[in-house]
């Protein structure tokens, strides 16, 4: 068992099958990892798509509980769940600030608890939970738009009635 600090995951073959195997073996998302993708000839967008697909196959959601960072110097138009960084130095400081050293008894106890919790989170079916959450956020947005529109409609209705009454009096 190791401290949840950033570690490199070296991958040569970015096929979905190979990625699935590697992610399972390295227990990705139970500890923070970063992957360099600039050394291969495959299109970066394709690589990211394959990584997302492999994670989905094994039911892991990037970033929950630990991040999976992609390191690339290429400018990619990507707005997905993975985190992209231009270099190893730019990855989230929180998981790279400490220097690993020999752990004491109390620290080992805490690390066991942290590891068990990370496994517990990974055993949850996170995709349906978060997808339903996203759907509810979309619905909530539509609802607030509808409420705003209703209030405008109410205002317009009153305004038209007033004009109609005034013109009637004339």
């Amino acid at each position: 068992m190791k401290l949840p600090l950033y570690d490199e995951l070296k991958i040569k073959n970015f096929n979905v099958e190979n990625l699935t195997e590697r992610f399972k073996k390295a227990r990705v998302c139970e500890s923070p990892y970063y992957i360099h993708i600039d050394h291969i000839e495959m299109d970066a967008k394709e690589v990211i798509k394959n990584i997302e697909e492999a994670l989905k196959i094994i039911g892991l959601y990037p970033g929950i509980p630990y991040p999976l960072a992609i390191i690339t110097k290429k400018a990619i138009d990507y707005h997905g769940k993975l985190e992209l960084f231009s270099s190893k130095e730019n990855v989230t400081n929180y998981f790279s600030n400490l220097k690993p050293k020999r752990l004491k008894g109390k620290e080992i106890g805490l690390l066991n608890k942290v590891d068990a919790l990370a496994q517990k989170i990974n055993n949850l079916d996170i995709y349906p939970i978060l997808e339903s959450f996203e759907e509810k956020i979309r619905d909530q947005r539509i609802l607030s738009k509808n409420i705003a529109f209703l209030s405008k409609l109410e205002h317009t209705n009153d305004h038209i009635k007033n004009i109609d009454d005034e013109l009637e009096d004339e």
């Binding site: 400490l98 989170i121 996170i126 939970i129 959450f133 609802l143 409609l153 038209i160 109609d164 009637e168």
Partner: protein, 112 residues
């Protein structure tokens, strides 16, 4: 500070804040470094605990007590009703707005 006074105060340096600030900083840093892993792991435990509770609460609330769909349906119905009210005021027979608009329109295009 004179040497004589220094000798008189020897043993009370810490109480009188006469200890070298640099040395004190180094010692505090060393004490901090001893506990940084423990504090990191305690924070991690708390964070993961909260993440787990959040995900469990999310799934329970949304599966059992979601009110969004009926509220959305109700808001759609109200919009349709309000729209028809506005339109009814405008298009009802002998509506003064319509009559005035008709008058305005006709004034631009006089009948031959």
């Amino acid at each position: 500070m004179g040497n004589k006074l220094k000798n008189d105060l020897s043993g009370f340096e810490e109480v009188l804040d006469l200890v070298n600030e640099k040395k004190r900083g180094q010692r505090e840093e060393k004490i901090g470094a001893e506990y940084d892993i423990q504090s990191f792991l305690e924070l991690e435990k708390e964070r993961l605990d909260k993440t787990y509770s959040f995900l469990i609460a999310l799934s329970k609330v949304f599966n059992n007590h979601s009110q969004i769909k009926p509220l959305l349906e109700k808001s759609r119905q109200e919009i349709t009703e309000k729209e028809s009210t506005v339109i009814n005021v405008l298009i009802r027979e002998r509506s003064s707005i319509l009559r005035n608009l008709e008058f305005l329109f006709d004034s631009f295009f006089p009948k031959p």
